[in-house]
Symmetry: C3
Subunit: 139 residues, 3 copies
Protein backbone atom coordinates (compact mmCIF):
# COMPACT_ATOMS: atom_id res chain seq x y z
CA UNK A 1 0.00 0.00 0.00
CA UNK A 2 1.23 3.47 -0.93
CA UNK A 3 0.33 6.65 0.92
CA UNK A 4 0.87 10.32 0.17
CA UNK A 5 0.17 13.48 2.19
CA UNK A 6 -0.03 17.09 1.15
CA UNK A 7 -1.27 20.33 2.67
CA UNK A 8 -2.92 23.16 0.74
CA UNK A 9 -2.74 26.71 2.13
CA UNK A 10 -5.38 29.44 2.05
CA UNK A 11 -5.89 32.99 3.23
CA UNK A 12 -9.09 34.36 1.76
CA UNK A 13 -9.67 38.14 1.71
CA UNK A 14 -13.34 37.89 2.75
CA UNK A 15 -15.25 36.22 5.55
CA UNK A 16 -16.98 33.73 3.19
CA UNK A 17 -15.67 32.35 -0.11
CA UNK A 18 -15.23 29.27 -2.27
CA UNK A 19 -12.07 28.11 -4.09
CA UNK A 20 -11.90 25.32 -6.68
CA UNK A 21 -9.08 23.03 -5.51
CA UNK A 22 -9.60 20.22 -8.03
CA UNK A 23 -6.33 20.93 -9.90
CA UNK A 24 -4.27 20.76 -6.68
CA UNK A 25 -5.92 17.48 -5.66
CA UNK A 26 -5.29 16.04 -9.16
CA UNK A 27 -1.64 17.04 -8.83
CA UNK A 28 -1.39 15.29 -5.46
CA UNK A 29 -2.91 12.14 -6.95
CA UNK A 30 -0.33 12.16 -9.76
CA UNK A 31 2.50 12.72 -7.27
CA UNK A 32 1.29 9.78 -5.18
CA UNK A 33 1.67 7.25 -7.99
CA UNK A 34 -1.53 5.61 -6.74
CA UNK A 35 -3.60 4.00 -9.55
CA UNK A 36 -6.41 2.45 -7.45
CA UNK A 37 -7.37 3.88 -4.08
CA UNK A 38 -9.03 6.67 -2.16
CA UNK A 39 -8.19 10.31 -1.56
CA UNK A 40 -9.44 12.09 1.55
CA UNK A 41 -9.59 15.89 1.30
CA UNK A 42 -10.53 17.66 4.53
CA UNK A 43 -10.48 21.10 6.07
CA UNK A 44 -7.98 21.16 8.96
CA UNK A 45 -9.94 24.04 10.53
CA UNK A 46 -13.39 23.87 12.07
CA UNK A 47 -14.83 26.99 10.44
CA UNK A 48 -14.16 25.76 6.88
CA UNK A 49 -15.44 23.03 4.57
CA UNK A 50 -14.36 20.84 1.70
CA UNK A 51 -17.25 19.89 -0.57
CA UNK A 52 -18.02 18.81 -4.12
CA UNK A 53 -20.39 20.73 -6.32
CA UNK A 54 -20.60 22.90 -9.44
CA UNK A 55 -18.09 25.59 -10.43
CA UNK A 56 -20.78 28.16 -11.23
CA UNK A 57 -20.70 31.73 -9.91
CA UNK A 58 -24.47 32.06 -9.51
CA UNK A 59 -24.65 28.87 -7.44
CA UNK A 60 -21.89 30.10 -5.16
CA UNK A 61 -23.90 33.28 -4.56
CA UNK A 62 -26.90 31.07 -3.76
CA UNK A 63 -24.80 29.12 -1.24
CA UNK A 64 -23.69 32.37 0.41
CA UNK A 65 -27.25 33.71 0.68
CA UNK A 66 -28.72 30.40 1.83
CA UNK A 67 -26.07 29.73 4.49
CA UNK A 68 -26.49 33.27 5.78
CA UNK A 69 -30.23 32.63 6.17
CA UNK A 70 -29.70 29.24 7.87
CA UNK A 71 -26.99 30.53 10.25
CA UNK A 72 -26.73 34.35 10.23
CA UNK A 73 -23.45 35.97 11.24
CA UNK A 74 -25.14 38.94 12.95
CA UNK A 75 -26.12 39.74 15.57
CA UNK A 76 -23.07 37.99 17.00
CA UNK A 77 -24.56 38.14 20.51
CA UNK A 78 -27.16 35.50 19.55
CA UNK A 79 -24.49 32.78 19.92
CA UNK A 80 -23.07 31.54 23.21
CA UNK A 81 -19.78 30.59 21.49
CA UNK A 82 -19.24 34.30 20.87
CA UNK A 83 -19.31 34.94 24.63
CA UNK A 84 -15.71 33.62 24.55
CA UNK A 85 -14.67 36.73 22.58
CA UNK A 86 -14.98 35.08 19.15
CA UNK A 87 -17.40 36.34 16.49
CA UNK A 88 -17.38 33.20 14.33
CA UNK A 89 -20.04 30.93 15.86
CA UNK A 90 -22.02 31.13 12.61
CA UNK A 91 -18.99 29.77 10.72
CA UNK A 92 -18.98 26.62 12.90
CA UNK A 93 -22.66 26.10 11.97
CA UNK A 94 -22.26 26.82 8.25
CA UNK A 95 -19.39 24.36 8.06
CA UNK A 96 -21.63 21.54 9.35
CA UNK A 97 -24.12 22.13 6.50
CA UNK A 98 -21.40 22.05 3.83
CA UNK A 99 -19.32 19.30 5.46
CA UNK A 100 -15.72 18.86 6.61
CA UNK A 101 -14.41 16.43 4.02
CA UNK A 102 -14.84 14.49 0.83
CA UNK A 103 -13.56 11.04 -0.05
CA UNK A 104 -13.01 10.49 -3.77
CA UNK A 105 -12.21 7.28 -5.60
CA UNK A 106 -8.99 7.02 -7.61
CA UNK A 107 -9.32 4.79 -10.68
CA UNK A 108 -6.59 4.38 -13.29
CA UNK A 109 -4.53 7.05 -11.55
CA UNK A 110 -7.23 9.73 -11.82
CA UNK A 111 -10.05 11.23 -9.74
CA UNK A 112 -13.09 9.08 -10.56
CA UNK A 113 -15.60 11.86 -11.12
CA UNK A 114 -18.99 12.42 -12.68
CA UNK A 115 -19.33 15.07 -15.39
CA UNK A 116 -19.63 18.19 -13.20
CA UNK A 117 -17.94 17.22 -9.95
CA UNK A 118 -15.40 19.76 -8.71
CA UNK A 119 -13.81 19.96 -5.26
CA UNK A 120 -14.13 23.24 -3.34
CA UNK A 121 -12.60 24.76 -0.28
CA UNK A 122 -15.36 26.64 1.56
CA UNK A 123 -14.28 29.42 3.91
CA UNK A 124 -16.66 30.83 6.53
CA UNK A 125 -14.21 32.76 8.73
CA UNK A 126 -11.56 34.12 6.37
CA UNK A 127 -8.77 36.66 6.57
CA UNK A 128 -6.50 34.18 8.34
CA UNK A 129 -4.21 31.28 7.39
CA UNK A 130 -6.03 27.99 6.91
CA UNK A 131 -5.03 24.53 5.64
CA UNK A 132 -6.57 21.60 3.80
CA UNK A 133 -5.20 18.07 4.12
CA UNK A 134 -4.96 15.73 1.14
CA UNK A 135 -4.29 12.11 2.13
CA UNK A 136 -4.05 9.38 -0.48
CA UNK A 137 -3.91 5.63 0.06
CA UNK A 138 -3.91 2.82 -2.48
CA UNK A 139 -1.66 0.99 -4.91
CA UNK B 1 -4.72 -4.56 -1.73
CA UNK B 2 -7.76 -5.35 -3.83
CA UNK B 3 -10.02 -2.78 -5.46
CA UNK B 4 -13.38 -3.01 -7.19
CA UNK B 5 -15.48 -0.42 -9.03
CA UNK B 6 -19.11 -0.44 -10.03
CA UNK B 7 -21.65 2.10 -11.28
CA UNK B 8 -25.35 2.07 -10.42
CA UNK B 9 -27.80 3.73 -12.81
CA UNK B 10 -30.94 5.73 -12.00
CA UNK B 11 -33.69 7.61 -13.80
CA UNK B 12 -36.36 8.60 -11.30
CA UNK B 13 -39.82 9.61 -12.53
CA UNK B 14 -40.17 12.53 -10.10
CA UNK B 15 -38.08 15.53 -9.18
CA UNK B 16 -37.37 14.24 -5.65
CA UNK B 17 -37.15 10.61 -4.50
CA UNK B 18 -35.24 8.08 -2.41
CA UNK B 19 -34.11 4.58 -3.46
CA UNK B 20 -32.73 1.91 -1.12
CA UNK B 21 -29.48 0.75 -2.78
CA UNK B 22 -28.21 -1.45 0.06
CA UNK B 23 -28.70 -4.72 -1.89
CA UNK B 24 -26.68 -3.41 -4.87
CA UNK B 25 -23.85 -2.27 -2.59
CA UNK B 26 -23.87 -5.66 -0.81
CA UNK B 27 -23.61 -7.36 -4.20
CA UNK B 28 -20.64 -5.18 -5.15
CA UNK B 29 -18.92 -6.06 -1.86
CA UNK B 30 -19.40 -9.78 -2.55
CA UNK B 31 -18.08 -9.37 -6.11
CA UNK B 32 -14.99 -7.57 -4.81
CA UNK B 33 -13.85 -10.47 -2.64
CA UNK B 34 -12.76 -7.91 -0.03
CA UNK B 35 -13.08 -9.22 3.56
CA UNK B 36 -11.65 -6.21 5.44
CA UNK B 37 -11.75 -2.73 3.97
CA UNK B 38 -13.86 0.28 3.09
CA UNK B 39 -16.55 0.94 0.52
CA UNK B 40 -17.16 4.47 -0.78
CA UNK B 41 -20.60 5.07 -2.27
CA UNK B 42 -21.08 8.50 -3.86
CA UNK B 43 -23.43 10.33 -6.17
CA UNK B 44 -21.61 11.16 -9.43
CA UNK B 45 -24.00 14.08 -9.97
CA UNK B 46 -24.16 17.28 -7.97
CA UNK B 47 -27.94 17.42 -7.54
CA UNK B 48 -28.15 14.01 -5.86
CA UNK B 49 -27.07 12.42 -2.58
CA UNK B 50 -26.05 9.12 -1.08
CA UNK B 51 -26.94 8.85 2.61
CA UNK B 52 -27.66 6.30 5.32
CA UNK B 53 -30.89 6.33 7.27
CA UNK B 54 -34.11 4.40 7.88
CA UNK B 55 -36.19 2.66 5.19
CA UNK B 56 -39.47 4.07 6.46
CA UNK B 57 -42.02 5.72 4.16
CA UNK B 58 -43.16 8.34 6.68
CA UNK B 59 -39.59 9.47 7.32
CA UNK B 60 -38.98 9.87 3.60
CA UNK B 61 -42.04 12.14 3.42
CA UNK B 62 -40.61 14.11 6.34
CA UNK B 63 -37.30 14.49 4.47
CA UNK B 64 -39.14 15.73 1.38
CA UNK B 65 -41.18 18.30 3.35
CA UNK B 66 -38.22 19.45 5.45
CA UNK B 67 -35.82 19.86 2.51
CA UNK B 68 -38.49 21.79 0.62
CA UNK B 69 -38.80 24.16 3.59
CA UNK B 70 -35.01 24.55 3.95
CA UNK B 71 -34.41 25.09 0.20
CA UNK B 72 -37.67 25.63 -1.73
CA UNK B 73 -37.76 24.80 -5.44
CA UNK B 74 -40.10 27.71 -6.28
CA UNK B 75 -40.00 30.49 -7.10
CA UNK B 76 -37.06 29.48 -9.29
CA UNK B 77 -36.16 33.15 -9.83
CA UNK B 78 -34.97 33.43 -6.21
CA UNK B 79 -31.71 31.65 -7.16
CA UNK B 80 -28.90 33.18 -9.20
CA UNK B 81 -27.88 29.71 -10.49
CA UNK B 82 -31.22 29.61 -12.31
CA UNK B 83 -30.24 32.74 -14.27
CA UNK B 84 -28.14 30.31 -16.37
CA UNK B 85 -31.37 28.73 -17.68
CA UNK B 86 -31.43 25.90 -15.11
CA UNK B 87 -34.27 25.44 -12.62
CA UNK B 88 -32.42 23.15 -10.22
CA UNK B 89 -30.54 25.49 -7.85
CA UNK B 90 -32.60 24.14 -4.95
CA UNK B 91 -31.36 20.62 -5.77
CA UNK B 92 -27.73 21.73 -5.33
CA UNK B 93 -28.65 23.05 -1.86
CA UNK B 94 -30.71 20.04 -0.79
CA UNK B 95 -27.86 17.73 -1.78
CA UNK B 96 -25.49 19.53 0.63
CA UNK B 97 -27.85 18.88 3.56
CA UNK B 98 -28.14 15.16 2.76
CA UNK B 99 -24.50 14.70 1.67
CA UNK B 100 -22.66 13.41 -1.41
CA UNK B 101 -21.28 10.14 -0.11
CA UNK B 102 -21.01 7.54 2.58
CA UNK B 103 -18.02 5.44 3.59
CA UNK B 104 -18.93 2.07 5.12
CA UNK B 105 -16.66 -0.44 6.82
CA UNK B 106 -16.39 -3.96 5.40
CA UNK B 107 -15.81 -6.60 8.08
CA UNK B 108 -15.75 -10.33 7.42
CA UNK B 109 -16.82 -9.68 3.82
CA UNK B 110 -20.01 -7.81 4.76
CA UNK B 111 -21.22 -4.23 5.28
CA UNK B 112 -20.50 -3.50 8.96
CA UNK B 113 -23.84 -1.93 9.87
CA UNK B 114 -25.90 -1.06 12.92
CA UNK B 115 -29.42 -2.51 13.21
CA UNK B 116 -31.31 -0.01 11.01
CA UNK B 117 -28.66 1.36 8.66
CA UNK B 118 -29.68 1.32 5.00
CA UNK B 119 -27.99 3.14 2.11
CA UNK B 120 -30.15 5.47 -0.03
CA UNK B 121 -29.79 7.27 -3.29
CA UNK B 122 -31.42 10.68 -2.90
CA UNK B 123 -32.58 12.42 -6.07
CA UNK B 124 -33.38 16.14 -6.10
CA UNK B 125 -33.49 16.79 -9.86
CA UNK B 126 -34.92 13.63 -11.41
CA UNK B 127 -36.30 12.62 -14.80
CA UNK B 128 -32.79 12.22 -16.20
CA UNK B 129 -30.03 9.59 -16.18
CA UNK B 130 -27.85 9.65 -13.08
CA UNK B 131 -25.10 7.44 -11.69
CA UNK B 132 -23.73 6.33 -8.34
CA UNK B 133 -20.15 5.12 -7.92
CA UNK B 134 -19.27 2.19 -5.65
CA UNK B 135 -15.54 1.90 -4.97
CA UNK B 136 -14.17 -0.81 -2.70
CA UNK B 137 -10.64 -1.18 -1.35
CA UNK B 138 -9.24 -3.71 1.08
CA UNK B 139 -8.04 -7.28 1.34
CA UNK C 1 -2.75 -4.03 4.72
CA UNK C 2 -3.75 -4.03 8.38
CA UNK C 3 -7.26 -3.49 9.66
CA UNK C 4 -8.69 -2.94 13.12
CA UNK C 5 -12.26 -2.67 14.40
CA UNK C 6 -13.66 -1.32 17.63
CA UNK C 7 -17.06 -0.33 18.98
CA UNK C 8 -17.69 2.52 21.43
CA UNK C 9 -20.79 2.39 23.64
CA UNK C 10 -23.05 5.24 24.75
CA UNK C 11 -26.17 5.80 26.80
CA UNK C 12 -26.72 9.52 27.24
CA UNK C 13 -29.06 10.77 30.00
CA UNK C 14 -30.71 13.43 27.80
CA UNK C 15 -32.38 13.50 24.42
CA UNK C 16 -29.60 15.62 22.84
CA UNK C 17 -25.91 15.70 23.80
CA UNK C 18 -22.32 15.75 22.55
CA UNK C 19 -19.40 13.61 23.78
CA UNK C 20 -15.74 14.13 22.84
CA UNK C 21 -14.53 10.71 21.67
CA UNK C 22 -11.10 11.78 20.39
CA UNK C 23 -9.19 9.91 23.15
CA UNK C 24 -11.01 6.62 22.37
CA UNK C 25 -10.29 6.99 18.65
CA UNK C 26 -6.62 7.75 19.38
CA UNK C 27 -6.46 4.60 21.52
CA UNK C 28 -7.93 2.53 18.69
CA UNK C 29 -5.35 3.95 16.27
CA UNK C 30 -2.53 2.98 18.65
CA UNK C 31 -3.99 -0.52 19.11
CA UNK C 32 -4.17 -0.98 15.33
CA UNK C 33 -0.45 -0.49 14.78
CA UNK C 34 -1.32 1.43 11.59
CA UNK C 35 1.20 4.20 10.77
CA UNK C 36 -0.25 5.40 7.44
CA UNK C 37 -3.91 4.96 6.62
CA UNK C 38 -7.46 6.06 7.25
CA UNK C 39 -9.83 5.74 10.19
CA UNK C 40 -13.59 5.74 9.65
CA UNK C 41 -15.67 6.70 12.69
CA UNK C 42 -19.43 6.37 12.23
CA UNK C 43 -22.61 6.29 14.25
CA UNK C 44 -24.17 2.81 13.99
CA UNK C 45 -27.58 4.33 14.72
CA UNK C 46 -29.60 6.61 12.46
CA UNK C 47 -30.58 9.18 15.08
CA UNK C 48 -26.97 9.99 16.02
CA UNK C 49 -23.95 11.64 14.41
CA UNK C 50 -20.18 11.60 14.45
CA UNK C 51 -18.68 14.98 13.56
CA UNK C 52 -15.54 17.05 14.02
CA UNK C 53 -15.65 20.49 15.57
CA UNK C 54 -14.60 22.50 18.62
CA UNK C 55 -14.74 21.28 22.23
CA UNK C 56 -16.35 24.47 23.51
CA UNK C 57 -19.42 24.47 25.75
CA UNK C 58 -20.98 27.62 24.28
CA UNK C 59 -20.71 26.23 20.74
CA UNK C 60 -22.43 23.03 21.81
CA UNK C 61 -25.30 25.10 23.20
CA UNK C 62 -25.44 26.94 19.85
CA UNK C 63 -25.64 23.58 18.01
CA UNK C 64 -28.49 22.47 20.29
CA UNK C 65 -30.46 25.70 19.76
CA UNK C 66 -29.81 25.83 16.01
CA UNK C 67 -30.71 22.20 15.36
CA UNK C 68 -33.89 22.64 17.38
CA UNK C 69 -34.82 25.59 15.16
CA UNK C 70 -33.99 23.72 11.93
CA UNK C 71 -35.82 20.52 12.96
CA UNK C 72 -37.98 21.02 16.10
CA UNK C 73 -38.80 18.01 18.26
CA UNK C 74 -42.31 19.26 19.10
CA UNK C 75 -45.06 19.08 18.13
CA UNK C 76 -44.26 15.44 17.36
CA UNK C 77 -47.45 15.18 15.25
CA UNK C 78 -45.87 17.37 12.54
CA UNK C 79 -43.82 14.36 11.32
CA UNK C 80 -45.23 11.39 9.39
CA UNK C 81 -42.45 9.14 10.81
CA UNK C 82 -44.03 9.64 14.23
CA UNK C 83 -47.29 8.11 12.96
CA UNK C 84 -45.46 4.78 13.44
CA UNK C 85 -45.50 5.35 17.22
CA UNK C 86 -42.00 6.87 17.37
CA UNK C 87 -41.38 10.41 18.60
CA UNK C 88 -37.88 10.80 17.13
CA UNK C 89 -38.43 11.99 13.53
CA UNK C 90 -36.62 15.23 14.38
CA UNK C 91 -33.56 13.19 15.43
CA UNK C 92 -33.37 11.61 11.95
CA UNK C 93 -33.33 15.13 10.45
CA UNK C 94 -30.83 16.62 12.90
CA UNK C 95 -28.44 13.73 12.24
CA UNK C 96 -28.38 14.57 8.50
CA UNK C 97 -27.25 18.14 9.25
CA UNK C 98 -24.43 16.99 11.53
CA UNK C 99 -23.48 13.90 9.47
CA UNK C 100 -23.13 10.17 10.06
CA UNK C 101 -19.37 9.74 9.90
CA UNK C 102 -15.92 11.22 9.66
CA UNK C 103 -12.88 9.86 7.87
CA UNK C 104 -9.56 10.97 9.38
CA UNK C 105 -6.06 10.50 8.01
CA UNK C 106 -3.51 8.57 10.06
CA UNK C 107 0.05 9.84 9.58
CA UNK C 108 3.03 8.58 11.56
CA UNK C 109 0.70 6.50 13.71
CA UNK C 110 -1.42 9.47 14.86
CA UNK C 111 -4.65 11.26 13.91
CA UNK C 112 -3.57 13.87 11.34
CA UNK C 113 -5.48 16.84 12.75
CA UNK C 114 -5.54 20.61 12.51
CA UNK C 115 -5.11 22.64 15.71
CA UNK C 116 -8.70 22.48 17.04
CA UNK C 117 -10.16 19.34 15.48
CA UNK C 118 -11.89 17.05 17.96
CA UNK C 119 -14.21 14.12 17.19
CA UNK C 120 -17.68 14.15 18.75
CA UNK C 121 -20.49 11.71 19.17
CA UNK C 122 -23.75 13.62 18.67
CA UNK C 123 -26.89 12.14 20.22
CA UNK C 124 -30.35 13.28 19.15
CA UNK C 125 -32.49 10.51 20.66
CA UNK C 126 -30.76 9.52 23.88
CA UNK C 127 -31.65 7.47 26.98
CA UNK C 128 -30.94 4.23 25.14
CA UNK C 129 -27.89 2.14 24.22
CA UNK C 130 -26.06 3.32 21.12
CA UNK C 131 -22.82 2.36 19.38
CA UNK C 132 -20.10 4.01 17.29
CA UNK C 133 -17.91 2.00 14.92
CA UNK C 134 -14.19 2.72 14.55
CA UNK C 135 -12.63 1.01 11.51
CA UNK C 136 -8.97 1.48 10.66
CA UNK C 137 -7.14 0.40 7.52
CA UNK C 138 -3.56 1.02 6.46
CA UNK C 139 -0.02 -0.15 7.07
Amino acid sequence: MKSHRKELLFNLPERMGFVNITPQVETAVRESGVREGLVLVNAMHITASVFINDDERGLHQDYRDWLERLAPHAPVAQYRHNDTGEDNADAHLKRQVMGREVVVAITGGRLDFGPWEQIFYGEFDGRRDKRVLVKIIGE
